[in-house]
Symmetry: D5
Subunit: 130 residues, 10 copies
């Protein structure tokens, strides 16, 4: 079951804005209708809360814990749209970032490939379409 307690954070190392992007090509969950596995790639992209703020004390997600969190979806029946919104909401509540974006690319079913994108906050314009 998707498990937010797996996620760990570390303090943002600087107060200068910067951008962090992590892409996992090994995401898998189950289709809640058919039980068949879905496979996709999840990109997390965010501007961490600056070091000199409260949120900045836990502003960055630790990489290994992110991997374990993604693995917790492995046997979960959950729709594309719900996966994407769920991950966004979990990470936003954890990191309180300046902005955050989740892009989920699915290998597709029935000959149709899908991409779902969910944003939080003022995502810089040049990333709105990625």
């Amino acid at each position: 079951m998707p498990d937010i307690t797996l996620l760990e954070t570390f303090a943002t190392p600087t107060s200068t804005p910067f951008v962090i992007e992590h892409t996992s090509d090994e995401f898998t969950s189950l289709c809640p209708k058919t039980g068949h596995p879905d496979f996709g790639s999840i990109t997390l992209r965010y501007g961490p809360a600056p070091a000199n703020t409260d949120a900045g004390k836990h502003g960055c997600v630790e990489l290994k814990s992110l991997k374990l969190y993604y693995q917790s979806f492995r046997n979960e029946g959950i729709f594309y749209e719900a996966v994407t919104n769920r991950i966004r909401d979990d990470l936003v509540s954890l990191l309180r970032p300046a902005w955050l974006q989740i892009v989920a690319d699915w290998r597709g079913r029935g000959g149709i490939r899908s991409t779902i994108r969910a944003d939080h906050g003022a995502v810089p314009g040049h990333w709105l379409g990625r």
Copy 2:
């Protein structure tokens, strides 16, 4: 014959704006002039009506029904431009989305590849050229 009654919807899962994109690489219809088949790829991209609106109660198109709807063009004689506008109109009337875009890429005839793009509503600028 293209059949809009094949399309099914589900409620938008959130009121936070997000973007859904479905690409089918297996679209085929017939050229109304020559009767020869055309082959193309159709991308549907839209911002679904938010959950907290009337339209949001049927704001997202169900993936399998979309596939069946596309298949209903298989033996239809219809021009490139008409296919694209038809799909846009059908989906807009069904989903009442914040915005919607159809991009149809055709394998081409007589050595000429074609792309037709039809929009509805205020498509975010970074997607206008895709």
Copy 3:
């Protein structure tokens, strides 16, 4: 329905062995189980009967007729393996070639891509694995 009478031939232009290869990326038929369309690419590769033989008088398949023949599978429910063997048998009986090979690459169903290869006669070794 697949229709061999659509196929036309012309005489092999030379008695020196040579090789002809035609690839159609726009093949489609129907799955006999589900009725859903299958999409694939068909490669026909052969050494035509030499000009100085009886078979050589109709040793080469005319390109436009080949296209029409492939189109006649459009609404036929037929398995991958049967398509490949059927095309090989039809063309062998028509052309009586020195050797002939059909390679069918399917876009796949349920996350599995498939390739079926059917040969006739002594296909040169370097092509056995293509």
Copy 4:
């Protein structure tokens, strides 16, 4: 000789703005200096005049006639820049589109590849650099 009378049109099918793009990878003309052939790819991209205008009655170029028009350059000695401007002018006078863009990519001569881009009207910004 380039021949505008080869071009045919059809009425724009809708009053909603949309975009049409046709790319021919098989354009060839002659260098007026050396007589050697040039080879290139021509992209025509335009917003057709809306259906509810006079221009919209002949707002879209018919695909086969476009191919014949391009073929009429085959034995014409004409510079890169002149080809591009000529095609733009011919199509603008024919279609009276909202906007139009021609992009010609040449395989190059003497180790230098060239691209010439000619616009008409208010080309949407995201396409200015393509």
Copy 5:
């Protein structure tokens, strides 16, 4: 748990030798040491038993059952080498093919990508190294 009873067969449609290849890009199992998921691509390639033999009566594996069989490895802790040999043995005992080859490509762990190849019978030479 890997479950051979999921596999179904159908009769080889011809006595002429031909080749069948199925590639699944969505294979996943678990590392028995760490419990972390492994992701890979499995290619099954074989010459089915001819129609005019006993084995040919169940000479071909049914595609959907193959998918379910692969899915049965999803939560199994099993090494790369064991997966490959296990699939080969299961399919050989089921299909009694003229020859058969399994090629497993793994996305890798610790910066090392791996490929394991297991053969049965006289695999045609041009495929020995694929």
Copy 6:
């Protein structure tokens, strides 16, 4: 009209066997049926006659003359198969090479790409399938 007198030769520079390959991506001729242009790529591959033989005195084709010879097909109506065999025959009679191969790849008509390969003499086995 294809014109063999355009071709020039130079003496093979060595008696040690070696291989020369020239690929032109800018070949064009006309379809004799429809008059429409065909576009393709022609590869000439050969082992020149050794320097210490009579044939070796004119064993290599001069590159610029080859280009002019290819250009002489520009307005010729000629089938794929005939182009390939014609070029082979012209070059063999001119160069008397140890072996020679012409591979013509055509951009295709009606959705079908074609490759024609014509050999002369004992083409080394590893090139038989290219």
Copy 7:
């Protein structure tokens, strides 16, 4: 030695703004420190002075003369940054264009690839980053 007198011009063919781009993948000069050759690709991109201006009378650079000018750097010891600025300055003084951009991509030294970009005038924004 880089030699601006090699450059020739021709009159801009129209007063409508358009864009010309020439890319040479065969640029080479010498490193002034080590004497070793550098290899790169130079892109020249500009909006020529309009036909109805004085500058427009020599608004476009002739392609063959551009090639000879680039070749004049062959045995010149000159730094990356200086090459790029030098070419920009030479072409701006010659063509007096509406705007002009030089992008130099170097194959790199010591495992580091470099790109230098120098602009003149109001380069349209969508090209600022290319």
Copy 8:
């Protein structure tokens, strides 16, 4: 240990703004947690201080010294985020550029690829997302 004294500069060659970009595909450091090596690619992109300013006297980083500086991270245990911010800070203090951007692409650990981007000053908008 990362060593800023390795870096050398030279004077900006012009007062006209231009852009310099250096990409090293051979960056490696150590993970401070596990001691295992990390591998990545570092892109440095900046607008050098103009020649007619004080900063412009040492406005450009010398390429070989940059390589040595990058090599000084080889046996340093340092996190992704810290590497990126450290390089930015070192180069900004050295070059005092108009603007500067560091983009670090990491081959990834545990199936997750990462990109970290750190900016200084008013980075032109079209590069904000690279």
Copy 9:
């Protein structure tokens, strides 16, 4: 220092011949002349000793230990050729395989990319050139 004691083995799981291939894209050592780092990719390919032999009891190299062994070259000054032969000799003495091949691809120095291939035993012919 390269350290063979890091390598661990496990028993070959079957007596049927099969092939194992591991590719590390993250190999680095030092040039013994200049001290600068070299970067490359190492492919290990082998037929393990069969299970029913003495050698088969330690016939396969454990993946994580292989990674640590490769890492032990990190600060070693060693030539391309020596790296390749050293790895082959170490693994042959450890695994006593039926055959084994090491292919090392180096990113290159001074504009020259290099590949070194060292074999042991009767490497199957189709792999001799990889």
Copy 10:
């Protein structure tokens, strides 16, 4: 002028046969007819003389000296075929290898790309066609 005295050797490190391949993508010489530069890529591939032979004492070419030797062709007017044969002869006389192959790929002139391949001794069959 091409200068063989630039080449240096080192002793073959082992008596076990292995293969060395060096590819330079930065080769340039001049066309003896037109004086224009030619650009190409040169691959040297050889089996060095074994360590336990006289020839093995200078069986391998030193990489930096090879680069300088290639650079000595920079301002030499020399035909494609002559470059290839010259390099082969120089390296064979220097290294006395078991076998050796030179493959020269030229960017082409007049729209025709060329590859010249010259061998020495018994080149293993799988490389004859590369």
